[in-house]
Each structure stands twice: as C-alpha cells, then as structure tokens.
Symmetry: C2
Subunit: 705 residues, 2 copies
C-alpha cells in the first residue's frame, strides 16, 4: 500500500532532496542508531535544530522520538546552547573557543543515562551541529564515544548568485532564477526555505542575491522589500543577505549627476540608501561590487581609485557592521598589458589603503575560472588587505551542467596553492577571510542542472568550512548521502568523480592552455575564433599558436613577465620551462611543437595524447556508470547516463576540433595509434550554437570564424 | 511508516500532478469502484492505455488488477480496438462513426460476466477513453449502466508555445520553457512525457513548439533533431509536433537573397526543408506562421498577398499531409485605419484563394486577448476558408499567474458568440476546424505559474474537444480532480472561479474598455501612457477618454465603422449605443460621462461602480478561500492565499489608478459611498515595473508617462 501510494506521487527521486535525502537506512544500522535516538532534549528556542533532527530521525530511522526538557532514559540526544535547559557547565570552556558558529558533538552520561550532546553557542551553531550529527548517520558512522569539535576556518562562506531581475541567470545552466521577483515579497515559495536549509547544512552563511553585473533597480524600495522577505526566510538558517551594488546607482535611481565616490552628495545618497536597507534588513551583510571591469562603471570613471570607491561604501556600511566585497576581477580597457598581470598591477599598490570592512574578492586564478589556472598572484601579495577567494561552482568554462566534472579537486588545488609569500606552506587557504562561490543553482528540479553538479555546491560549502578537508573525503560523504552507502557504488563513483576534473582539463585545455572556448557563451571549442570587441576575449590571445609552436610567453625575457608577480621560488620556476610544472607549461611559455617533454614525447605529441586521454576518461566513466544501475533509482540513473553520453560526444568534439585546428598550424602528424579528427577543421568552425544557455547579452559581440 | 516515508519525500502536493492526481479515494466509493476493476483485458498494442488505467487503479483504488487477454470474472475492464483481442463485433457500427479519436465506454456482459468496455478505433482513442473512464472515478460518478460515446467536435486542438530558443517564453508566467533545447535530443526529461500525458488526458492533439515570433534557427538540422526527439515522446499520446516558421528563413538560414513566395528558388528551398523535416518527423503537423504582423517578415514585403505566402507553404506541405496555420493577427504598419478593422479588411477579400490545407488562425476578438472583446468579425465572413479560433491560456492581459481568473467563461463566450452569418445560432464554434491555445506552461513545478491556472489549460482542452460543454461543468470536474470531491469545497470553489473573469473585466476594463494595460509587459494599469513606437500599442488609442467622455467610436457615423464588419442584426445593434450590450458599450461608442445607463446611473458612476465591484469580488474570493483550508493541503492552500492577496492588492491598484486617471479628465465626483483612490494620479503614473515577466524585447520601446 505504501509503495503504491508513494509511487502515485511525484517523481520522488528527481534530486530535489539533494544530500539531505533522509531515506530509511538498512535494518542493522537503523537498529543500532535507534538506541541513540530514544528522545530529544531541547529548549523551545532551539526549534529549527530540533525540527531538523526529528526530520532526520523520521526519514532515516522511521522513529519520531519525543521531545522534552529533561533526560529520562538512555539514548537521548541533547541539544544545548548556553542558557538552554541542558546543563553545559562541563563544556563551557570548550564552547567559549568555538565562536558563534562552531559546535560540539559528545557522547556523555547524565545521571547515569547514556546520551549524545550537540552543543553550540547559538541556534545556528546548533543547527550546524544537528546537520553534522545526521551526517554521521547518513554516512553510516558509529555513534559511540563521539568527540566532535567543529568550527569554521573561514568566516565568510558566501554564494554569489549571478541572477538577473528578469529571471535569467548569467552563466546559469539550471533554468531560471529561484528568486521569483515578480511574486516577492508577497509569496514565499517553499523552495526559499529549502535553499536556506541546504546551504546551512554545509555551513554557507551568506548569499549575494543578484548578478555582479548589477542593476541599480535592485536597490529601489520595491526590490529591497523583496530582498528583505528572502532575508526573513534565511535568517533562522544563519544566512545573511548581500546585494551586488551598481556603482552608478546614485545616478540611475538617485537622480544625481555623478557617482564620484568623493562627491558629498554621492556619499550622502549611499548613506541614506544603506540606512534604508538596514531598516528592512537589520542584519544585511553588505555589498558586492564589480567596478571598472568588463564595462561596469566604477570609481576610475571619475579619476578615483578602487580604494576610493570601496572605502566610500565601506564607510557608510561600517556603522551597521556591513562589509564591502570588492572584486579584483578587473582588466584594463586598453588591453596593452597581458591580461593575467592587470589585477595584480592595479591592486598591489593599494594594499593598506582599504578600510577594515573591505574584502577584496579575488578569483582563484589570474584569468577567469578556467579548467586549470595557477594561483592568483594577488594572494599573499596584499598582506594588509582582507582577501576572499572567488571560485565558480557553475561550470561556465567546464562543459556546463552536462559534463560530469567534480570541482572539489579544483577548489582544493586553489586553496592549497602555495604562494611561498611567507615561505614554504603559504597556501592561499591561510590568507583568506572568505570564500565566494558563483552559484550553479536554478529553478530546475535538481537545483543545479544535473545530479552530479550538486556535489560542487556541496564541496564548496564543506571546503569553505574547512579547507583542510580532502576533496576525496567530501566526494565520498556526498555520494553516501546523495545516492547510496553501498561500497560497490561508493568506491567506483568517488573514483570517477575524482579524475573527472583532470579529464576536462585534458580534453579542453591541457598543459596550461586556457580560454579556448567559443566566444560569448563559452560552450564548446573555438580556438580559431578571433576578432570581436576585445582581443582578450578570444582564444588566440591565450594560446598564441603558430607554425612554430604554442603557448603564451609570460616569462621575464621576451614575455610579459607576469612570472615576476609570484614570490620566489615560484617566479624562477615559472620563468624556466624546464622547471615549470607541466600542468602550467603553456600558461607561461611559448614552445616549439617539437619541444621535448619529460615523457620523451614532443610537445605536439604530448598535447594530442592529453586530448585523447581526456576523451578516454569520459568513455571510462560511461562504462563505470553502466555497471551502477542496480544502486540508483531509474530517473537519476537515466539522467546521468544521458549526460555522460553528451559529455563523451562533446569531449570528442573538443579533442577533434582543437587537434584539427592546432594541426593546421603545427603541420605535424598525429602520434601513432591516435585517431584523426572525425571532421575537417572547416566543419568544426562552422558549428554554431548561438542559444547555448547562460550567455549574457553583453558578450555577444560577433567574432570572426 | 507509510506516512513517514511519504512525508520524507518531495513536496507531493505542489501541483505537479495536475488533474491527474490519482490519490486514494474515500472508502465507500473505493469499495464500490473496486468491484468494477477486478481485472484488465488488453492486447499488447494497447500498452499506454492499459498502463494509464493501472496507474489510475493503483493510485485511486490501491489495487493493481491483473492484465490478461480474456475475461475471467465479473468486473473486468476491457480495452478494445478493432483487431485487438476484445470481440468488438457488437460495436463495429458504433465505432465506425467515431473517427480515429473517439471512444465508447459501455457496461457490457460477456459470457455472463459483468464488464466495462472501453473501445476506440486507435490506441490514442483508447487512451482518451481510459482518461474518460478514470475521470468518472475521479469525479465520483457511478460506473453502472455506462453508455458514453465521445468524439472530438473540433479536429485541430493545439497548444501554441511562445517559447524561445534561449529558454525564455514570450508572455510566459511560469518560469523558463519546459523544452531544454540545450540537452535535447540527447536527454529526454521525464517531464516531456508528463506534459504529453496531461495534454492527452484532455484531448489536445498538437503542439507548436516555438514562438510565433519565430527564429529561423528552429528549422536548422540541429534543432529539427531536437523537435524530432520531442515528437517521438509525444507520438504515443496522439500529439503532433508543429513549428512556427519564420518567413525569411530561406534568407537567414538558406543563403538565398529573397523570401519571395513566388520565387522558384524560395519554393524549392521550402520544398527541400519540408522533406528534410518529414524525414525526421514523419507525422509532422505543419507550420504556424505570423507574417507581416508586428514587425515579422511576410509575403507583403515582396508585394505578395497572405494567400500567396500561405499557399506556397501549403503546396510544399500538402504531399506530406501537413497544414499551414496562417495567423490573421495582422494590423497595418501605417496605422491609418482603426486597428479592429484591419484583419477583416485584409483577409475577407482573400476568401476562396487559400489552398485546402491552409487554416486561418483568428484570435477570439479583433484586438488582442483582452479581458473581454466582441467576437472577431472574420468568423463566419470567410465561408470558403477553414478557420481556427486562437485564444490565450496564458494571462498576458489578465493579471499574469497571480490573478485567479478562470478563463472557461471567456472561451465559452467566444465559442458561443453568435455571428448571425447564417442566421440566429451561427456561433463561432460551428465554423471552426481548430482551436489554438497560447500555452501558459513553464518549468515551474506547478506547470502554469499557479494552481488555479491549471484550470485554464484544462478548460481549453475540454472545450476544444466539445465546445458545447459548459465552463461551469468543466470547472467542477477540474476542482474535483485537482483538489477534492467534498461538496463543501467544490461548490464555493466553482462559484469563486465562475465569477472571476467578470471580476477581472470589472477591475481592469469594464463596459467594453480594452487595452488599458501598461505598455510592453502589460502588467498593471497604464491608461495614461502614450507615445512610443506605435499609437495602437498605447491605451489612449483604445479608451479615447477626454473631458467630454470615453470610448472608441466604431459606429457608422463619425466612427471607424468597424460595426459594419458584423452581420445583421449585430451591425445595427452595435451601431446604436442604446442597443449595444453594455459589456461592449465603450468598445463601439464614445459617450458622454453623463450618458444615462440602463441602471439609471450616469456612465461615469457606472464605470466607477464596475471598478469597485471587481475589487469587491476579489475580496469575496479571499474570504471564501479562507474558509477552505480544511480541504486543501497546506502548500497549495498557502500559494493560493498569497496569490489572492496579491490579486486584491493589484485589483485595487487597477481600480484606483484607472479612476484617478479618468477622473482627471471627467472632473466628476465619485458616486456616494465609494472610496477615492488611495494615491494621487502622479503616484500611480510613477509606478514602474520594468522586469515584469514575459515581456519580449521587441515591445520595450519607451512610452511617455
């Protein structure tokens, strides 16, 4: 009867539940866990945490323990915050060092009764603790002798939504925006709370609601009310609302004639605006600003510096304890300097000039969310400025939602990138105060455009909480929570995920290549595309391939000398092709097609070999997935199968199109045994996909084929 | 346990199940029905019908009857088509007259066993029959002595999707397009089949996939493959795929220098293109064409007539049995003639010139999907031309998705509009060969943007199947299937729905007014807006309000004489304000603010009274809905409550803004007891909602406030 009724309902296994998929667990584990879940002790103020706990118990264990104020038997779960009913005296010292978001999970004894304590300094910390506790069950870990102590390593863990007011999402591959601006603030879709809950479950504590290519209308009273309604939904989950601020808002919605940050009227306008925001959103997080970048207005339009602009906003936000996240993703309009150098050259001289509540938000690499980039040289080079690391969760340059590319290893590589600024071990993770992830969330039922892209949202949150976690451990956690704890499923799926990013690097941009994607939408290969509005929006600017060789010379000699922006010994290493890690080789050097690689192959052969290897990995993923049908429900299995087929087709397209193009310059034969491109270069050049999703109008300038 | 497990799943009651909500029915009814559902007799080819039947039985009755080839006991359901296992000899004559889509449902006796026969001439007819049978259960009707005989009255029952290739929908209020062009044809979302199933359940047999403001790229091989994949999903459900064709496709994707329909190369291009389409979609339905209308290209650009253009396409489609649906929604670019006259003047002279497989698709009224319009004068005036009636299911001019406006009465009014062309009783429904509904479907979970907008999709299908059905009966059916059979819910909800369209007329455009909506997006009132690209896109063109009075003079005297396009006695009636039905009064006449109305009130007082009455109706709907919480699940209840609150707010906005504006011209006091507008006219004029959804770029020309 139950099965029939459930079956008659909606497609339950559509991925909507994410990793919070509280389905009944195997009998022996359930029995064991039930003896640790006999009752819940919670104070009324700990409502949301207790609710989540009960939801987990009900779903996972099919029990609904009573909730009371006192322990009455063995197996209680005690939720405690200072001031709640639970006696936390024994843990006071411990709690004191946990901050407002940390939590403890401890096996304790109270009046002879065995119990599990989840304790924190705040209701949000407690909610985090409950999610942490449930994760133990979801991943089938023992509940005996628990001694968990968790606190976030990074204070700002923020999703950046590039969502527009018309419901589209720049670089979004999961449908329309989940914010329904039309019905806000009057109608609160259940999905808003589901979003907040999912974010809280992985420790995300902020959301920038609107696109960094910002619309001033977001700051009008009408839209502030809408943002305030979302803030009310998010607040109990510990998520602060931020807004992207358009620098010229004082002109566009304020009726002023300038947006000069040193103009008194401008400052007064922002002061007034910020006060207005805090009236409706008392815990407003602050502004994210993309200024003087890709056509966005900024302080330089008035002869002022980034610091002038950021500090003006910081000054009006400071009394309210708000922050400015100022993006370092800028490159000059005149393009006379290697683009990879520009942010560093522009911002390093400003170190020390920013107000205390300015965070400089720096992308992981010096270009723009490529499959692989070396670390951004700004990290470590601005010791007096709080920095945030910005990574992309949405896969603009990584095959969109249909390519299975687990980004955990990319985030890990970025966080662990050793800048050597303070000597060996100066990883980026040590110098950041925040981590921003450009969200991949949309209104599609599976949230992220594909089942496996949920893992990237998850990994972002988990790594922002603790950058020391391994991306493999996170993948395993996610697989167990999202799909199955059967090791016959877990092991091959985690293995598949772990190699998937390297495979994408191989079939798109191996050996340090970058930005070979077709212009505008960045979907599919376009290494031949030149022309258009800006040279630095075209692939040849990056690969510099010609009859002699390939790669961008950024060395000290004839190159752009961007290597000098790195600390030693990196600068010296990157300056010498023999010392440059192979994965960054063509990022820093233009080398002959015949350049001898460590493998003994020529560069040309090595390049083709990498392209081929990427395709083979995808084929291998398909073979693996085909064996996993018994462990996955049919809808999620079918979606993943279809997407892997798309990925294989597109990986081949990438390989063949790039090889066809580069071969037209190198004039060299393919290494023995490797198949030639399926089509001619002209055929690849003729492929046009003008409606590939996520493409903002402003990049749509035509390019020459 | 069941409840717990189900509860842990997705939000089951989010409206995704539409009216096919096969939830367990009350015990006594279930027991009764089970005795009619003991086994299913079906041939293998009747698979989809049998599957649907079992799905219904499982959900509604919690039984899964065995499926066999022979009746073995009392209570069998026998599915039969000629040639299937069931012996249909006794019904052969009956079936012969049913056509390929009709069905019978009969209580029969076979070898002494009581059984229910569902019979049809095709598998699609059988599927329709199964949906018809299940509807009996869903609406709690007796299964004794059944003698149902159904066949569609109108052959073409088609949804028009105004969906763009970038995933947006023109005039769409339910999120992004449900067609994911990016992943088609490789991935087939489960939703595609769910869509087809829902359409089949109400007899819809065609879908135009793409916007009438068409993009030629839809006709490229890449996109034809995508359309073909959808056609494969839809085919078993009896739904043919159609495409909107851009008239200049031969230039844009064909490389020709002209799209002149009389040019041999152009004709050859289309011939080739159509052959290519039929290779991948063997049952392709044909083209929908918007030509020489609102900036779309067409035959007139080459000095040819609409007939020249339509016939050229018809000729190349005819060998494949495809049709051309040619839209009559045209109005001249020079605007020197009353817009309501233009389609008639342009098309009536062409009657008899169209090929047999051209259907002229005419909107229900002469303007454009207003809350109320008189019937379009073309109906009945082109006896030699097959006509289709085009109505809007999406609510462009009707408050979008958040206004509860049940359109059944509007469709009914349109279908029953008596043209008198063949004397009394010449209703539009008698002269049409097809009905096209501009779809309100999007990717939102509830499909249509709101729970109650599902009723408009439903009513469209049911009325296209049989225009004689009453919209009230359809509303009741829908409420019972979608929400509850409890008469304490059914009666007030149906009553609420039935008056809702008249209420919208009242608070937006009473007494024959039209097109007072703000420009471009058509959201909210804008009766003061003039200027912009075209006078006939602005409200003053329609209301003609001034110090003396209000209304558009379309009479024979000083007016535009559009009344003469109607047959007698309508023409005479509409020519005389005293004889003109009050609901069309200001459509045909410009009258003094003091014009005495039948009620004894002045026109001004009557106008204000109507505006006020509309708001009061919405208030009454809110009061009614507030009493219905016990009968509805919490999510659908909350959504509807929130939307009704929005509707009340916006109905007031409409009333107050229109009264403030008209009062600025009439200078007359409000009738006693009616509240003045809440804000000043200037305040209403200052309201701007640039990101109201569904607004296509091409209407965004700025207008003067």
């Amino acid at each position: 009867m139950c099965l029939l009724v459930c079956a008659a309902g909606a497609h339950a296994e559509d991925g909507y539940d994410l990793w919070l998929r509280y389905r009944p667990i195997e009998g022996p584990w359930a029995m064991r866990y039930r003896s640790f879940s006999t009752e819940v002790v919670a104070a009324p103020g700990e409502n949301l945490a207790a609710q989540e706990l009960l939801r987990g118990m009900t779903g996972l264990l099919a029990v609904t323990p009573a909730v009371g104020r006192r322990i009455t038997r063995d197996g209680a779960i005690v939720l405690g915050t200072p001031g709640s009913s639970a006696d936390l005296g024994a843990f006071a010292a411990d709690l004191e060092t946990l901050g407002s978001e940390g939590y403890l999970i401890r096996s304790i004894r109270v009046h002879g009764h065995r119990a599990t304590l989840v304790a924190a300094n705040s209701n949000v910390g407690l909610l985090y603790g409950v999610f942490g506790f449930l994760r133990l069950l979801q991943t089938r870990q023992s509940l005996e002798a628990l001694n968990v102590r968790e606190a976030p390593h990074i204070p700002h863990r923020i999703l950046n939504h590039w969502d527009n007011l018309d419901g589209t999402i720049e670089r979004g591959y999961a449908g329309a925006s989940i914010w329904d601006w039309q019905t806000l603030p009057d109608y609160l879709e259940p999905r808003y709370a589901d979003y907040a809950r999912a974010c809280a479950s992985i420790g995300i504590n902020g959301a920038v609601l609107n696109n960094v290519n910002a619309n001033a209308v977001s700051l009008t009273p009408q839209y502030l009310e809408k943002a305030a309604a979302l803030a009310r939904v998010f607040r109990p989950y510990g998520i602060k609302v931020y807004l992207s601020a358009r620098f010229t808002a004082p002109i566009e919605i304020g009726g002023l004639h300038t947006a000069d940050p040193l103009d008194d009227a401008v400052r007064a306008w922002w002061q007034h605006k910020v006060a207005e925001i805090y009236r409706v959103i008392p815990d407003f997080g602050g502004f994210l600003v993309k200024a003087n970048s890709e056509g966005q207005p900024g302080p330089q339009d008035y002869g002022r510096s980034h610091a002038d602009g950021a500090n003006m906003l910081a000054a009006v936000l400071a009394p309210h304890r708000g922050s400015v996240m100022w993006r370092a993703f800028v490159y000059s309009a005149h393009q006379n300097e290697d683009r990879t150098r520009q942010a560093y050259d522009e911002f390093v001289p400003l170190d020390g000039q920013f107000d205390a509540n300015v965070l400089l938000q720096v992308k992981n690499g010096p270009i723009d969310f490529q499959p692989r980039e070396p670390g951004h040289p700004l990290f470590g080079a601005m010791p007096k400025t709080p920095l945030m690391l910005e990574v992309q969760i949405t896969k603009e340059y990584l095959g969109f939602a249909t390519h299975l590319v687990y980004l955990g290893p990319l985030y890990e590589e970025a966080l662990r990138f050793d800048t050597h600024r303070q000597g060996l071990g100066s990883s980026i993770s040590k110098v950041i105060d925040g981590m921003a992830g450009v969200s991949n969330i949309g209104a599609m039922r599976n949230w992220t455009g594909s089942q496996f892209d949920q893992a990237n949202w998850y990994a972002f949150g988990r790594l922002a909480w603790n950058p020391e976690t391994s991306s493999r451990a996170i993948a395993e956690e996610w697989v167990r929570m999202t799909f199955s704890n059967d090791t016959r499923f877990v092991a091959p799926t985690v293995a598949m995920m772990m190699g998937s990013r390297e495979a994408a690097v191989d079939y798109m941009t191996p050996l340090g290549l970058a930005h070979l994607m077709a212009a505008g939408h960045h979907y599919g290969p376009g290494p031949w595309q030149s022309g258009g509005a800006r040279a630095d929006w075209t692939p040849p600017y990056y690969h510099r391939a010609d009859a002699e060789g390939i790669g961008a010379d950024r060395s000290t000699g004839a190159g752009s000398n961007s290597v000098s922006q790195y600390a030693q010994p990196l600068a010296a290493q990157y300056d010498d092709p023999k010392l440059t890690p192979e994965k960054y080789l063509l990022w820093f050097h233009h080398l002959s097609w015949d350049y001898p690689m460590p493998s003994g192959r020529t560069l040309w052969d090595e390049l083709v070999m990498h392209y081929s290897r990427g395709v083979e990995y995808v084929q291998e993923m398909r073979r693996t997935w085909a064996t996993l049908a018994p462990y996955v429900d049919s809808d999620r299995y079918a979606e993943t199968s279809a997407y892997l087929a798309i990925q294989e087709k597109e990986a081949r397209w990438w390989r063949d199109a790039c090889i066809a193009y580069f071969q037209s310059l190198s004039k060299r034969p393919l290494p023995k045994g490797l198949a030639p491109p399926e089509h001619t270069l002209a055929e690849y050049e003729a492929i046009s996909t003008p409606y590939a999703p996520g493409n903002p109008g402003w990049t749509a300038a035509p390019v020459r084929h």
